[in-house]
Amino acid sequence: MALDYEESKQKIIEGLQKKSKTKSKFYFNDLAKILDAKPREAKKIVTQMINEGILEFWSSGSTSMYGLKGTGKQAGAEHENE
């Protein structure tokens, strides 16, 4: 069963906002967990959220993470606000 986009989007936004005090960057797996979905299904939602500019990528070069656009910035990556 395909996930409903609007509903899934809300779930992710709320899920990430809830944790935003401690964390601004999330692994793909964390997003799949919020949706309680198989990775391939979750990926479709996440890709669309990227394309709409709601989420953005962060990369160390070797690993990639996701965050709500504009949150955390560099300080988050450096774990300064944890």
Partner: protein
């Protein structure tokens, strides 16, 4: 006069080998002279500052680069590695020093014109420093500023028909040996398979959803010119099923000194007359060859396809005619648990263009499904294989255990029977048993 004093770096130039420090100084000088009047889009002294910050790192014994970044080109979650310097006042030329990865053409086939275009673009909009085909395999552009990224991406994709490669938790730029284009050892068309899978898996290449990086590499034969067995989560290595083809006349030719062994590769020194017993037969790792009465014989059942005999006498010996590839999985660099080579999963798969390589894609996708669900963050396939066991890998790929999976008996891997696989299960009828076996 250099912008920054670099006594520690200068020392690196004193050894007998070419030095990256000299290369960087050369480029710094070329940018300063700018004979072609390039309108540099990032500071012209970027390399001076790169030398300066590296010198400082050597002095301080710690890095002056921050970790990672949000930068990229729109829609892509890889291909750009964001780098920022933590001393931007002292080294403004490298305040940003982002890396871009370029998905090189399969088999590294390109014209000088294409290379010049890339270099010109990179001089204009980046540092001019490149790194061609390191162990990651692709073309790497080192050092540019954020506003340049989309410009470079546009130019590359629209003018040069050239895509970015993979970085981060993506499928990395697949890479392959020159294969059937130039090399008669090739057991399958590496370039076609590499290109096909690159196009097929664009989503995996550009939109990260894996636990970590994932690499494909394609070697046309077990000589492994791209070292797929050591560098790829999935290694596709050409092989054959039937017998090594022997031309007995040509074997005699080698024995009589008519043809230089190894295609003349070791001709730089006089090694004496060619000795087929010492140089070929005795060196066969499985000792499955014999040379008697002017005739070379191979017990092909024992041959491990190491390529040694074929490499020494390419005119006389060739891989068999029934060719395909072996698929091995799980190689990785040291970070956790030490380095690991790929383990054999499928000894022989037909490499079939006719059905768009469906058998191969089925294996790939079953592995991805497993790893994407079970893999921990930053866990490579090889680590997951160790954690959950080779038997689990066989289960998820639907492959039956075979002797070739066993590296050492009772050690790696150990395959357990499951109850449903044993006729009658684990329960037995004790009365039936006692009819034939006393207490």
């Amino acid at each position: 006069m250099a912008k920054h004093e670099t006594p520690l770096l200068d020392q690196l130039e004193s050894g007998p080998w070419p030095s990256f420090v000299s290369d960087m100084k050369q480029e710094a000088e070329a940018r300063a002279k700018n004979v072609n009047n390039v309108e540099y889009q990032i500071p012209s002294d970027v390399i001076e500052d790169l030398l300066g910050v590296l010198e400082l790192s050597y002095k301080d014994g710690e890095t002056h680069w921050k970790h990672g970044g949000i930068v990229g080109v729109f829609g892509y979650g890889g291909g750009v590695i964001g780098r920022y310097c933590d001393q931007p006042e002292n080294f403004p030329g490298v305040a940003h020093f982002h890396t871009m990865r370029v998905n090189q053409p399969s088999g590294h086939f390109y014209t000088t014109e294409y290379l010049k275009q890339l270099c010109d673009l990179w001089e204009f909009r980046g540092s001019g420093l490149t790194n061609m085909h390191g162990s990651t395999g692709d073309i790497i552009f080192l050092g540019t500023f954020t506003p340049q990224l989309e410009e470079i991406f546009y130019e590359m994709t629209h003018k040069y028909d050239q895509d970015l490669g993979g970085s981060g938790s993506n499928l990395r730029t697949p890479s392959d040996c020159i294969g059937a284009a130039r090399c008669e050892y090739a057991c399958y068309d590496t370039q076609d398979l590499c290109t096909h899978l690159t196009l097929e898996y664009q989503d995996e290449l550009h939109r990260p959803a894996f636990p970590y990086k994932f690499k494909f590499k394609f070697d046309g034969c077990p000589n492994c010119c791209v070292a797929s067995i050591a560098r790829a989560d999935m290694s596709f290595i050409g092989t054959w099923k039937d017998d090594i083809q022997i031309d007995q006349e040509a074997v005699k030719g080698y024995v009589n000194g008519e043809f230089p062994p190894n295609g003349g590769a070791h001709a730089g020194r006089d090694w004496g007359a060619f000795d087929i017993q010492k140089e070929v037969v005795d060196r066969c790792p499985t000792q499955c060859m014999r040379y008697e009465n002017g005739k070379l014989e191979i017990n092909n059942r024992e041959c491990t396809r190491c390529m040694h005999c074929i490499n020494v006498m390419p005119r006389a010996l060739r891989p068999g005619k029934q060719t395909g590839c072996s698929i091995l999985v799980g190689a990785k660099a040291p970070i956790l648990d030490g380095a690991q080579m790929s383990s054999l999963l499928l000894p022989f798969v037909e490499v079939n263009k006719e059905n768009d390589y469906q058998e191969i894609k089925d294996v790939i996708e079953s592995i991805w499904d497993w790893w994407m669900e079970e893999g921990k963050n930053r866990e490579r396939l090889g680590e997951l294989m160790k954690r959950q066991g080779f038997q689990k890998l066989l289960e998820v790929t639907g492959i039956d255990p075979i002797p070739q999976h066993v590296q050492e008996p009772r050690h790696n891997p150990y395959i357990f029977w499951k109850e449903e696989e044993v006729p009658g299960g684990f329960d037995r009828d004790i009365h039936e048993f006692r009819k034939h076996h006393q207490r």
